[in-house]
Amino acid sequence: MRKHVLGSTMALAVVWAVWSLASNPAAGQEAARAKPTSFGGCPAETLAFHACAQEKAKTFTPPRTPAGTPDMQGYWRDQLTHGFSVEGVDESEPETRNAVQPWPVGPGMIVDPPDRKIPYQPWAAKIGRKGVNYEKHIDPTSSCRPYSPPRDVQVSPFHQLLQPPGGESVVWLMEEVHSFRVIHTDGRPHVGKDIKLWKGDAVGRWEGNTLVTDVTNFNGYTWLDDLGNFYTDAGHVVDRWTMIDPDTMHYEVTIEDPTVYTRPWKMAWPITRDTAPGLEIIEEACWEGESDLVHFRSQGYTTYFGQTWRSQRGSGR
């Protein structure tokens, strides 16, 4: 879990370090576990996996539900993701040697554009990516606020997919902050434009064996990662889930927001089935007993309501 990554203030860093040790005693074990070299027969490297998985998806025939759609139900875990920064953190980044709070090194998840960076407009790059958001604001998830896609899929330790009979919806249950995403696959339109939501409004469809989800109607109060990368209330997220073997999915997400990016961009990663016996999602209450916000505020961090982009994107929004 990585909720409390903030600017480099000593007092906060100590709070964070104690918290993360206390809350994640298994971190050492995770690190010690051998890294897999492949997922679903594809290499365990983002770009190579992405290319390989698209080919494998063409020949794999998934099991079907009674409604006739691919049956993807079960418990799933993300692989090759880096919650700190969707662009990844390279060892050459000076902040990885920050004595107080070193940034975690990890691979980026972006597969397009080729430079694997978010194609921000110049003004917006100064807000996301180690910018104003990171320096001034509390990560929205640190205050237990809802996750929007694709961060909802990416940060949860694991999630469960349910496909109720009738095939009219698909539901993801996330362990992180007891969240869920209901994807209506009955052909209904999005809600009206004045209904703006933390998680957005998700409608979906099946394209062959791929579940395609279209999410709009965001309020723009959420981030993509701990570093403050973002989209606004004009964001449009399209996720694509495709099984490439019985226990592996290829996940691809396209994010579009003409008000802050110069073009749409894509991330991809593997999602693997967890078949551990007796696995259940355990309630992760967050707000109940929450006591960290007062510390964040005392250090000068403020709640994020999208004011950074609102003030620079122009009037009326």
Binding site: I195, A285, R297
Partner: protein, 261 residues
């Protein structure tokens, strides 16, 4: 940050675990009319968006109107909740302090079971053969009812705000047995309450395509003198555009702390 509520000692959890997890045999609610929606396996299909339409959230018992509180007949069988004497005094104290003490209205905490069912927000039931998910609009509360024959989590564990729910089918009735509940939730805005020893048995019976008869038995030997029941219909939301939106309650508290610019 407290991610999982860990509010009482192991001993109490053991007491909870030691309680019977079996529901008392209830009246058969097996309406097998062919109009009931059914799953491919043949059982009733509760999938859909439902909502209670009554005033139980304000007060489970008979009550007259107050400002912001609609009047309503109670949903408790016989209207009386069989509190032990100390507990009745506590309930009255809760009522007096309700505007600042209600864990939901004052603090935006998860509401627990069964209160979450009759709050004035829709909820969605998603049914699969081994898991039934209940997704509530209020604060993204949700729970999974395991109908795979698995037992409650054993022994000395933390409690959960939304409890540990295991279900089974008795004819066409879904019977949900819930324990491991927090003692920090109330049953309504009027201060009706329980302890961590609460054992809830809910019975969901489709009585037609668009109605569920919802009956709840509450047992808590630390607070009540005997088990007691409430019941109400749940109605299917029929609007074509209906869906579970968001009521992120704590966000409004955060805005009070730091107003949006």
């Amino acid at each position: 940050m407290t991610h999982r509520f860990i509010g009482w000692p192991i001993a109490a959890a053991a007491v909870v675990a030691a309680l019977s997890c079996q529901a008392p045999p209830g009246p058969a609610q097996t309406d097998t009319q062919s109009s009931l929606p059914r799953t491919p396996e043949g059982g009733p299909d509760l999938t859909g968006i439902w909502q209670a339409v009554n005033t139980a959230e304000w007060d489970l018992q008979d009550h007259v109107a107050q400002k912001g509180v609609p009047a309503g007949p109670g949903v408790v069988e016989g209207n009386d909740i069989p509190y032990q004497p100390w507990a009745l005094a506590k309930k009255q104290e809760n009522f007096k302090n309700r505007l600042t003490a209600d864990p939901v209205e004052a603090k935006c905490f998860l509401p627990g079971v069964p209160r979450v069912t009759y709050m004035p927000y829709p909820f969605q039931i998603v049914q699969s053969p081994k898991h039934i998910a209940m997704l509530y609009e209020y604060s993204e509360a949700n729970r999974t009812i395991y109908t795979d024959g698995s037992p409650h989590l054993p022994g000395a564990i933390d409690s959960f705000w939304m409890g540990d729910s295991r279900g089974r089918w008795e004819g066409d009735t879904l019977v949900v047995d819930t324990i491991h509940l927090s003692d920090q939730t109330w049953l309504d805005r009027a201060g009706n309450f329980h302890s961590e020893a609460l054992h809830v048995v809910e019975r969901y019976s489709l009585t037609g395509p668009d109605h569920i008869n919802y009956e709840v038995t509450l047992e808590d030997p630390k607070v009540f003198t005997r088990p007691w029941k409430m019941s109400m219909p749940l109605y299917r939301r029929k609007e074509p555009s209906v869906r579970i939106l968001e009521y992120p309650c704590f966000r409004f508290l955060q805005e009070e702390l730091q107003p949006r610019k």
